[in-house]
Every structure is written in C-alpha cells, then in structure tokens.
C-alpha cells in the first residue's frame, strides 16, 4: 500500500509564489504591510464567521454543532497566529530600539 503525500511541495511552492508576488526588495516593506493587512482582514473574516455562526445557532437555526465549534476553533487558531506574529514583530522592534549606536 502506498500513501500519497499531501500535495507535496505545496508549501514550498506557496512560499516561492509569495516571494515572487512581493516583487523586488525595494518595496518589500510595503509588500509586508500589505501582507499583514490582508492577513488581518482574513482574521477579521474568520472571527465574524464564527460570531455569525454562534448567533445563528443561538437563534435556533439548524446549524450542526460541529460546524459551529470548527468555525470557532479556526478563528481561535487564526487569532493565536496573529498574536504570535505581533509578538515577534514587537520583540524585533524593541531589540532594535535597545541597540547602542
């Protein structure tokens, strides 16, 4: 029995694509800002989706419980990811500000 890899190379491919989309290094700061902005918009969508599902469930609409919980878990993981990225960025900034010139 053989086990197919889960879309092998997709991750590396995605990273390469993102790097290509970011363009030359001259506007990488702007590209990073856009990336951050896009990710935050996605996070907002996730949170809103979870919120909407929760409200619909509370209002008695026929939503499967697992759909609701999965939406909330996805929102949670996305939020955790965003917080972690923010922590890294702030940490790097503070490290630079502490530097003696």
């Amino acid at each position: 029995m053989t086990i197919d890899p889960i879309n092998s190379g997709t991750l590396a491919h995605g990273v390469a694509k993102d790097a290509a989309a970011a363009g030359p290094a001259t506007n990488s700061a702007q590209a990073f800002g856009e990336l951050l902005h896009g990710s935050l918009a996605e996070l907002g969508d996730r949170l809103n989706a979870a919120d909407g599902a929760l409200q619909a469930y509370a209002a008695g609409e026929p939503i499967a419980v697992h759909d609701l919980v999965i939406a909330m878990e996805q929102a949670r993981v996305s939020l955790q990811f965003a917080v972690e990225v923010r922590n890294k960025a702030v940490e790097a900034y503070q490290e630079l500000m502490r530097m003696q010139v």
Binding site: N7, G14, A64, D67, I70, Q74, V77, F81, E84
Partner: protein, 131 residues
C-alpha cells in the same frame, strides 16, 4: 489555506457520520409505522468515492430504499389498503443498531483527529517562544 482543506475534510466526515446516525435513528423510529401507498422503505445514506486528490470530498446522497418494503396482511389496521395489506419498512434492527454504533465511533474519531490537528497548529506557534 492548505490546512483549511484538512478542516474541511474533517467537517465532511463529521457531517457524513451525523447523517448516517440520523438516518439510522429515523429508521429505528419508523420501523413499525405503516408506509403510505407509494412511500419508500428505510433511509439509506450512500457516498460516492471521493476524488483521487487529497480533500476532494465524496458526494453524499440519502435515498429511500423502495425495495425494502414488507407487506403484512392485517385487515384490522386503519392503514390497510383495499386488499387488507399493510406496507411496512423491511429492516434489520441489529443492522441499524450497528450503524448507530459505528457512526458514533467514526464521529468521535473525526473529533479526535481535528483536536490533534488543532493542537499541532497551536504547538507550532510556540516555536521560538520564551516559555
């Protein structure tokens, strides 16, 4: 995102198992209820094979098994037809019970898999942390 597909696959699994469980529960509940003159038999859930690629999900259909009908001669029954026959669904309660158990277990397995995936993602976010 690539991980969303895994979430979607798990969600599909849960929805499918839940549907199997609902169909089996419905069959058990209506095991002794007379069918209408042209009503079908017990509910059957079937899924076509999924795609060859990961997270290409199967198609699910729920149908009434029109052949699984037993006819009982019972003229005293209000639901009997002109010939005194009553049409009842023909099903094995033992089969339905085993479907209930296996669907419940498979649902549980999906929940476990999703929880493991979630834990892995949250663990990955701890990389490089100062904890």
């Amino acid at each position: 995102m690539e991980l969303d597909k895994i979430f979607a696959a798990n969600r599909f699994g849960m929805a499918f198992e839940r549907m199997r469980l609902e169909a089996a529960a419905n069959n058990v509940a209506t095991a002794n209820q007379p069918l209408g003159p042209d009503g079908g038999g017990p509910l059957r859930v079937s899924a076509s094979a999924g795609g060859s690629r990961f997270a290409e999900l199967a198609r699910v259909s729920v149908q009434r098994d029109a052949d699984a009908v037993r006819v009982v001669h019972d003229p005293g029954n209000p639901a009997a037809d002109a010939a005194g026959d009553v049409r009842l669904p023909r099903l094995e309660l033992a089969d339905e019970m085993s479907t209930l158990v296996s669907a419940g277990r498979a649902y549980e397995a999906n929940v476990k898999a999703l929880g493991a995936l979630r834990d892995m993602m949250l663990r990955a976010l701890e990389i490089g942390g100062n904890k």
